[in-house]
């Protein structure tokens, strides 16, 4: 035991007996922790003394050392970086504590005078600072303050991926025949595998010597010159490995492959394995150590390679974090992973199968800790072959899956065990079978578990039913009726809207589960958010046929985590049985971008982002005209927003007034249609006589509130347009409202003007002129933006836009629909007067147009809100959505801070607590008591605190004050006051502690948690808790 090890954890304020996120003894790791295997592996590989997790993900690794010496630091940091799991390593010595980044590329032995680049900060061993450090990491403020030390770009998987990608590109440049690409990929795979065997000391100098080769490592073979000799030696080694290990990795005809490899290829491989950046030629320190790089990382890297190739098939890379989150979700509730079976119907590189095998093998090893090497090898192989099944129609994918599983399998054996296995020969089974080939790949596929075929060509007799189907199936509109997926769905009478192949996987995966079996898939968000009758029918069938128990909506993380992903992702877990439609609840989690995520890829799900939807509510929504808006309401909307939206959406909608082309003819006063489509090169044309020569383009900035003739250009009154173009010219006639696609520009025009199909027009009779102006004002209003944001299927999910159907679903009551019809009519006329006045003013003062429109808009806003009966408390919700939420959606880069990721200011907190107190006081008027509040915050800790005190109603004091206490001791006092069984709570996630006449609210410091909307919801939560308490028996 080092001297540093004495009670270090309590200095950090950590107690493994109380805090389930802090682990000091690997034996204490509960199997209920989804990533138990990862944590045990970290303890073993890195000889750790403790791990702090968050949301089941490792956050900090603690390691005690005698002294923090440069050489030791270099070694430990390299191991830690290669391990690639936790973002922070803390080295603890007797007198000091060093904090290192797991996302800083290791460098060669550092100069002892120079601080290592990976060192983030040094801390003294004094309690408060260490406790503050832990809180700041948990809250994410540490990642904000030290943002430059983090970021996934330099993490081991991305670094290795970049280098391998560059190497592969260089290798490919050497060949003209693209058929060689597959061969080069196989070679690269095999080299990484060989490197892995050397780094783990499975093969060594002696192994090379036995086949007449000299050297210690693969690198030594590659530097032999001439290159032809190096190649011969390399393939000699491959042949030996093939004989010893068998398996699909060495299944191809090596001698034929060897003849295709050139000297240039050998040079490139030499450079890669000697740490020269093949793209720049720059020499560097070889940072990789495959002894520590997790197998899933290698698997994920290959998946990336593979899916880059297969974009046309809709296949995309499954990042490691996504694979882990999917596995955690899928396996929750499985008491044991052994004696169960698993299928990945689109296995790619096998990232899920590898993850499953690692977890199963970990459980097996704990069950049989004393198993001998040969038994372990046999049993684990049997476990792999009897439990796992994978399908992919790409042969390279199948081989990479086999390769990943080999690595995972060997990883579970020690080097002696592997050598024993190797002596027996054929250490690894053939795993891949390709039914389209006459003979199985390579040798006899006695234990083929990876099937190279189209999932939709398999039936349940050829592919057994399993306990869990898990996977990231391809996405895209590619399941046409002539494809196996399309045919299968047609035969089964299953709906697949938009030919989305992922939907076909949803149906077929359930067919392959045993009774009570589960399916967990990564899916495009469109399967829940898309509108249209087919999409709604599909969703209805899905939620009624199978029991969906959890949905993880990752849409907000799209641009941070999926870099080039076009479509946002969902993780959905469901079981094969039909649900109880009255009582079933679906957990709906929608995490948002945070500093922990952008800098450390740690997905934090705050309580605000977890909701439960009842299936009965969902079914009602799916049966209604707004289907399927329920997912969107609960995405960014708080309970208060949902209540407000329910109210607004109960008004008559705009579509009650508007006739569209193709609609059943009804008695509706207005019409809507898009403008004409200009004729293209190969289009059939028709002539269209326009009612006016005036024309306005969709990009014209003049499309703002009102339009003047002078804003338009003149065109011919007869246009050649596409044959299928809209022919109804009524929409070009005044009075009309012009709306650009995307809902960005909206203007009223009092004269006839034409436009192309990027603009839609709403025309009505002259008597409705004022109403159409009011409609323009409403569509441009904050209220419409608010409703649009919380109801549109694409906004905040994919693109910030409203589809035409969504515009027509906006609430738009006519004055006679409202309680006070006279006042409503007055408002309509007043707004029309304001717009007319502004339009007139602009005619005489063109240069001031923007200011005039801005002023008029600000005069119109309160009138629109009055028309819709918006309560002052509801205005707060609109303000916060527009000012805090909308600017914060789908963050691309943390370099541009958005409100939700900014610290709440003292002023934000003061306004929050004022709103909280005034709302609570609204409900306490008969009790003779009121509340007042104090606020405090610490960006060092990443938390803010509000202290609310009950006082007599007649007491004279300010309702808000500044907290005159240090936050850290106060927080400790609060945590200590909590009963021991509840002390496990993570204070930075949100905590309400009632203490006599005081209430403490502890929340993350981020602005999102300190808005007035948050205050209203918190007040509701407090009131709800109190009121329900009073309902209980005395």
């Amino acid at each position: 035991m080092t001297s540093a090890m004495t009670n270090w954890q309590s200095e950090f304020g950590l107690d493994p007996d109380v805090d389930p996120d802090f682990i000091m003894d690997p034996a204490e790791i509960s199997d209920e922790i989804p990533q138990a295997y990862t944590l045990r592996q970290a303890f073993d590989d890195l000889e750790l003394n403790g791990i702090l997790c968050t949301d089941n993900t490792p956050l900090i690794y603690f390691r005690c050392v005698d002294a923090i010496e440069p050489e030791l630091v270099t070694r430990l940091h390299r191991q830690f970086w290669n391990h690639g799991r936790a973002p922070i390593l803390v080295l603890i010595s007797k007198n000091e504590i060093h904090v290192y980044s797991g996302m800083s590329r290791p460098k060669e032995h550092e100069n002892s005078d120079e601080k290592p680049g990976s060192l983030i900060t040094q801390l003294e061993r004094v309690g408060p600072k260490l406790q503050a450090f832990i809180l700041s990491v948990r809250s994410g403020s540490f990642f904000k303050e030290h943002a430059k030390s983090f970021g996934p770009y330099n993490r081991v998987d991305q670094d290795l991926l970049r280098n391998l990608g560059n190497t592969r590109d260089c290798l490919r440049e050497q060949v003209s025949d693209t058929k060689m690409f597959e061969l080069l990929d196989a070679l690269l795979c095999r080299l990484v595998f060989t490197c892995y065997l050397f780094d783990r000391h499975v093969i060594d100098k002696q192994y090379l010597k036995e086949i007449g080769l000299k050297g210690d490592h693969l690198r030594d073979l590659l530097k032999v010159r001439p290159q032809s000799k190096a190649k011969r030696q390399l393939y000699k080694l491959f042949t030996k490995l093939g004989a010893d290990f068998n398996g699909d990795l060495f299944a191809e005809d090596l001698s034929s492959e060897s003849s295709s490899i050139t000297d240039g290829h050998i040079d490139i491989l030499y450079e890669f394995f000697h740490a020269t950046d093949v793209s720049t030629g720059q020499k560097a320190f070889w940072p990789y150590d495959f002894k520590f790089i997790p197998i899933e990382t290698i698997s994920a890297i290959y998946e990336h390679f593979l899916k880059k190739e297969n974009k046309k098939d809709g296949a995309f890379y499954t990042p490691r974090f996504l694979a882990e989150i999917t596995l955690d979700t899928a396996l929750e509730g499985f008491e044991s992973l052994l004696d169960r079976t698993y299928l990945d119907p689109a296995c790619g590189s096998g990232i899920f199968l590898v993850g499953l095998f690692n977890r199963m093998a970990d459980e097996w090893s704990r069950k049989y800790p004393r198993a001998r090497n040969d038994k372990r090898a046999d049993e684990l192989r049997e476990l792999m072959c009897s439990s796992l099944r994978g399908v992919d129609k790409d042969l390279t994918a199948c081989r990479i899956t086999a390769f990943s599983l080999y690595l995972a399998y060997l990883d579970k054996l020690d080097s002696v065990g592997i050598q024993e296995l190797q002596k027996k020969g054929r250490a690894l089974p053939n795993l891949v079978v390709n039914p389209t080939r006459e003979k199985p790949c390579g040798h006899v596929a006695t234990q083929a578990i990876i099937k190279c075929t189209d999932f939709f060509l398999e039936n349940v007799s050829s592919l057994p039913k399993v306990d869990l189907v898990i996977g990231n199936p391809p996405w895209g509109s590619i399941a046409a009726s002539n494809t196996p997926a399309g045919r299968w769905c047609e035969n089964q009478n299953k709906e697949i809207p938009d030919k989305q192949i992922a939907s076909a996987f949803i149906w077929k995966s359930a067919d392959h589960t045993l009774p009570k079996g589960k399916v967990c898939l990564v899916l495009p968000s469109g399967v829940l958010f898309n509108q249209g009758p087919k999409a709604v029918t599909f969703q209805n069938d899905w939620v009624r046929s199978y029991t969906i128990d959890r949905i993880l909506n990752l849409a907000d993380l799209r641009l941070v985590l999926f870099h080039k992903a076009l479509h946002p992702a969902l993780v959905v877990r469901y079981s094969q049985n039909a649900p109880d439609e009255s009582n079933h609840k679906i957990e709906y989690w929608a995490p948002k971008v945070s500093w922990s995520l952008t800098q450390a890829e740690i997905v934090t799900i705050f309580p605000e982002d977890r909701s439960q939807l009842s299936l009965s509510d969902l079914l009602v929504n799916l049966a209604g005209p707004d289907a399927p808006q329920i997912w969107k309401h609960s995405f960014w909307g708080t309970p208060r927003d949902q209540k407000f939206l329910d109210r607004l959406l109960d008004y008559p909608r705009l579509n009650a007034l508007i006739q569209r082309p193709g609609d059943k003819l009804e008695d509706k006063p207005w019409i809507l249609s898009e403008g004409f489509q200009p004729v293209g090169k190969n289009d059939k044309a028709k002539a269209l006589k326009l009612p006016s020569r005036k024309f306005i383009g969709a990009r014209s900035t003049a499309l703002n509130l009102f339009l003047h003739k002078t804003d338009c250009v003149d065109i011919s009154s007869t246009m050649n347009v596409r044959e299928r173009s809209n022919s109804n010219t009524k929409i070009y006639k005044a009075p009309h409202v012009l709306i650009t696609k995307g809902f960005n520009r909206i203007a009223f025009a009092d004269f006839s003007v034409s436009f192309q199909h990027a603009v839609r027009g709403i025309n009505g009779p002259k008597k409705d002129r004022n109403l159409l102006i009011f409609l323009t004002a409403f569509l441009k209003s904050r209220l419409a933006k608010y409703v649009g944001f919380h109801t549109a299927s694409s906004w905040a999910i994919y693109r910030p836009m409203l589809h035409v159907n969504e515009i027509l679903r906006l609430p738009f009551p006519l004055p006679h629909n409202l309680e006070d019809e006279d006042r409503a009519q007055c408002i309509v006329d007043e707004v029309a007067g304001l717009v007319d006045g502004a339009s007139h003013e602009v005619k005489h003062s063109t240069l001031r147009r923007d200011q005039i429109i801005e002023r008029t808009t600000s005069e119109i806003e309160p009138l629109v809100e009055e028309y819709f009966g918006v309560h002052p408390l509801e205005k707060i919700l609109i303000e916060d959505t527009l000012n805090v939420i909308i600017p914060s959606i789908q963050v691309k880069s943390p370099k541009k801070p958005v409100p939700t990721m900014s610290y709440a200011t003292q002023n934000n907190q003061t306004i929050y607590v004022k709103r909280l107190c005034s709302t609570l006081n609204l409900w306490s008027t008969r009790t003779g008591r009121i509340v007042k509040g104090e606020v405090g915050q610490s960006s060092d800790l990443g938390i803010g605190l509000a202290k609310i005190t009950i006082t007599a109603a007649d007491s004279r004091c300010d309702s808000v004050g500044e907290l005159q206490q240090d936050l850290l001791p106060l927080l400790h006092k609060l945590l200590n006051s909590i009963p021991r069984e509840q002390q496990s709570i993570d204070p930075v996630r949100g905590l309400m502690v009632f203490d006599k006449n005081l209430l403490y609210l502890v929340k993350p410091i981020w602005q999102r948690h300190w808005t007035q909307s948050a205050a209203l919801n918190d007040a509701d939560m407090i009131a709800g808790t109190i009121l329900m308490k009073t309902m209980e028996p005395a």
Binding site: K643, L873, R926, M992, F994
Partner: protein
């Protein structure tokens, strides 16, 4: 995570039943006339729509649901749907207040049916048996008096309550009591009960009798709507004087 709710805080907010009834009365006052033979559900649905559209709902920490199934019904009980339910905004699993609606004095073309028996046996009984508001100390009954004879409807209900007073857990003399928060209102009353089930024992039911809009004006109707009840102290279990 909420920890350690103390009695001091439990006393901060008075039960918001007066505010709920204020909202109901206000919403009802704007109901448009409807036919005397209109069924109960369409009326309740219209009232519900008016409640959720009411601007003042923003001032209450509740959301309102229509015809919600009580998931806590015991075996053997029918799965009655509660007509209108007020639940905490942030925790919809809990039900704060349930309102059961019944038609009374319905003319079917030949004669007027009082339906006072229905009011008691298919309304009040559901609270007393614990089928509704198992957790809770009070509930609400709303009578749509179709012919507008509010006093007549109330007397009829009182008579049935007397017949069933044991089953209703009421102690004689059986009658309606004034409500603490609307004592001057002749058509807003409360009754006190002891429930002999696994549900909370002491229980109050608030009764509001409202006239169908468009009914003949020969009977006295509910008093003017007060905007706020902030000056009235309210205790749902307070014995009537």
């Amino acid at each position: 995570m909420i920890v350690g709710l103390s009695d001091e805080w439990a006393k901060l907010i008075d039960p918001l039943i007066p505010e709920i009834f204020c909202l109901i009365v206000s919403a009802w006052s704007g109901m448009k006339p409807f036919p005397a033979d209109q069924k109960e559900n369409p009326t309740t649905k219209k009232l519900y729509k008016r409640l959720i559209m009411h601007r003042d709902i923003a001032e209450l920490p509740f959301r309102i649901d229509y015809q919600l199934m009580d998931l806590d019904t015991e075996e053997g009980e029918d799965d009655g749907e509660m007509d209108i339910v007020f639940s905490p905004t942030c925790n919809r699993e809990n039900i704060y207040f349930c309102l059961e609606c019944k038609r009374m004095n319905v003319f079917n073309g030949r004669k007027t049916h009082p339906y006072s028996g229905e009011y008691v046996t298919r309304g009040m009984f559901r609270f007393i048996s614990g089928q509704y508001s198992r957790i809770g100390r009070c509930g609400g009954m709303l009578a749509y008096v179709m012919n507008g004879d509010l006093s007549g409807a109330m007397s009829a209900v009182e008579r049935v309550m007397k017949t069933h007073h044991e089953k209703l857990g009421m102690t004689p003399p059986i009658s309606f009591h004034k409500t603490s928060f609307r004592p001057q209102d002749d058509f807003m009353k409360e009754t006190h009960h002891v429930r002999n089930t696994s549900a909370t024992s002491s229980f109050s039911i608030y009764h509001l009798f409202v006239a169908r809009p468009g009914a003949e004006k020969r009977w006295k109707s509910s008093g003017p709507v007060k905007k706020k009840y902030s000056d009235i102290r309210f205790n749902p279990l307070k014995d009537d004087d």
